[in-house]
């Protein structure tokens, strides 16, 4: 039966209930358990097979090999290239990778926070020093 103003009940009811809008960022909901946020790598279990590097659709992972025999690696993770698909998490047979469900507000004003170096403490500094040395060498050459 045709009526005029079929949504009248809802419309009047809405005056008396709270709006449905979320007041983010002042009030936050709890993060869902399976949310796919930033990638976290555990260097202890890694065997250096590089399946994660091969399977990444956007070349967001690079493995720097410091010493293959003693399994010392440093992983460079580009958070700005990552598509958060979690294929690397599935590809790793030893379960070294997981996606955090708390760190997902990754916006930044500069490019630097996006290049994440994961690894043991001394290894990461080693790689970073090498990287800055290479860049100063190339600027010297110019």
């Amino acid at each position: 039966m045709p009526t005029i103003g079929a949504m009248l009940g809802d419309v009047v009811h809405s005056l008396f209930i709270r709006p449905a809008t979320e007041y983010y960022p002042f009030i936050r909901k709890s993060d869902p358990e399976r949310l796919r946020g930033k990638l976290i790598w555990n260097p202890e279990k890694c065997s250096g097979c590089q399946l994660c590097v091969k399977d990444c659709p956007s070349e967001a992972l690079e493995l720097v090999v410091l010493d293959k025999a003693t399994k010392r690696f440093v992983m460079l993770y580009h958070a700005d290239r990552c598509t958060y698909c979690a294929q690397c998490v599935e590809s790793c047979r030893l379960k070294c990778l997981e996606m955090s469900n708390a760190q997902w507000e990754l916006a930044s004003l500069k490019k630097d926070p996006f290049a994440n170096y994961y690894g043991r403490e001394g290894d990461v500094q080693n790689v970073l020093a090498r990287a800055t040395q290479k860049s100063t060498e190339s600027t010297d050459r110019d």
């Binding site: 079929a6 809802d10 399976r34 399977d55 979690a86 294929q87 599935e90």
Partner: protein
């Protein structure tokens, strides 16, 4: 359009797009109007061509899954499922039934999400902002369900070559049921609104009327065709994934106008709720993935999937290596444009956005590059030629 029209009648062309508030994505429509009555229509697409099919040939099979998922945001899981079914056909791998059932669960949840989104957008095109806001508020329920299941609201990335990534446990199953119960009540309310509100019926009744013969001649697919009485649904004609165990009842309507399209899509929502509950009740036990080789054996495969907009068609060709030789995608919206341009004549200009919204266009899915050449005239294009052609085309 004849050239010997009376010289007094001026050709007045109203362009809708590529930038227009009616379109959510760019596309160009030229409506020739006489006062307010439309006398001709022309379509021009191709503004969102991203070269995905070519990009697929540079990536491995595993990486392509994520590239093809992003052809479209609303039907992303349908694209991923069609690709994965095709690759599994090529590799002759049998996927465990639990994985197929979870894939079907995601497919139906995506259908719910897509139809609720469409309901809001179509209401907005008709100026009915209240229905738009309420249906999108209720869509948040299904987005939350999908986020709890897979971790992302859009582009769920739930598929793997050989199975699925995510399992459904008891807590999630209860949440899904609660969400679906709430949505079912709201959907009944929306069906009531859409079929009884006088002002809205004035915008949708007898607009874009397409008879059964016209639907067959114009080759419409998806809910647009089913609203004219055409019985065409891939889930019923050629069941895939778990649709053999959980069969679908075909939903059709007889009006053929916009109101019938609303009714068909809302009734499809009820069917989806029923299937989701059936899957949750009878989820088969088993593993989630099957072992899949890295190099897919040579061959060609076709897979068809019922996306929320119609039949999605994938053609995959492998040459034995770990990169595909050819991936061809034919999306459903491409088949429905003819119905808009053919039926637009005789309607008022104000009906045009409603008719466009009625076929549920997804422009990003659409853009492929097709050149039709005569027999014996073959040409290979280099990258530079392609790029130059693209720039010239839009001048």
């Amino acid at each position: 359009m004849s050239e010997e029209t009376t010289s007094n009648a001026k050709k007045f062309i109203v362009p809708i797009g590529p930038q227009h508030p009616a379109l959510k994505e760019p596309g160009h429509f030229e409506f020739t109007v006489d006062g307010e009555i439309v006398t001709g229509a022309a379509v021009r697409l191709g503004y969102v061509h991203r070269g995905i099919e070519k990009g697929c040939e540079q990536n491995t099979w595993v990486q392509d899954l994520y590239l093809l998922e992003r052809v479209c945001g609303i039907c992303s899981h349908s694209h991923a499922t069609a690709y994965v079914l095709g690759v599994e056909k090529l590799a002759k791998v049998i996927v465990p039934p639990r994985a197929q059932a979870i894939r079907t669960l995601f497919l139906e949840l995506e259908r719910v999400h897509s139809h609720l989104l469409w309901l809001g957008v179509a209401a907005h095109e008709g100026g009915y902002d209240t229905l738009f806001m309420y249906s999108w508020r209720d869509r948040e329920t299904v987005m939350d369900i999908l986020e709890n299941l897979s971790g992302n609201r859009v582009n769920y990335s739930a598929n793997l070559l050989g199975g699925v990534k995510y399992d459904v446990d008891q807590k999630q199953s209860d949440e899904i049921r609660k969400g679906i119960d709430f949505l079912e009540e709201r959907t009944k309310y929306y069906l009531n609104v859409v079929t009884t509100d006088e002002t809205f019926l004035g915008r949708t009744r007898h607009v874009g009327q397409m008879t059964l013969e016209q639907a067959q001649a114009l080759d419409a697919i998806g809910p647009t065709a089913r609203a004219s009485g055409l019985q065409r649904d891939v889930r019923v004609d050629a069941p895939y994934a778990a649709y053999t165990d959980f069969p679908i009842k075909l939903v059709t309507a007889n009006g053929g106008d916009l109101e019938a399209r609303f009714i068909v899509r809302i009734n499809e929502l009820f069917e989806s709720y029923r299937i989701i509950r059936a899957i949750l009740d009878n989820l088969p036990e088993g593993e989630l993935t099957a072992r899949m080789p890295r190099r897919i054996p040579e061959g060609e495969a076709i897979s068809r999937v019922e996306a929320p907009r119609g039949e999605l068609f994938y053609f995959l060709k492998s040459n034995g290596s770990d990169k595909p030789e050819r991936v061809k995608v034919r999306t459903p919206s491409l088949c429905n444009w003819a119905s808009v341009t053919h039926l637009a004549v005789g309607h008022v200009l104000a009906d045009m956005p409603m008719m466009l919204a009625g076929i549920d266009p997804c422009f990003s899915c659409n853009d492929r590059s097709v050149t039709i050449r005569k027999e014996g005239d073959s040409q290979a294009w280099t990258w530079e030629e392609l790029r130059r052609y693209g720039i010239e085309y839009y001048k």
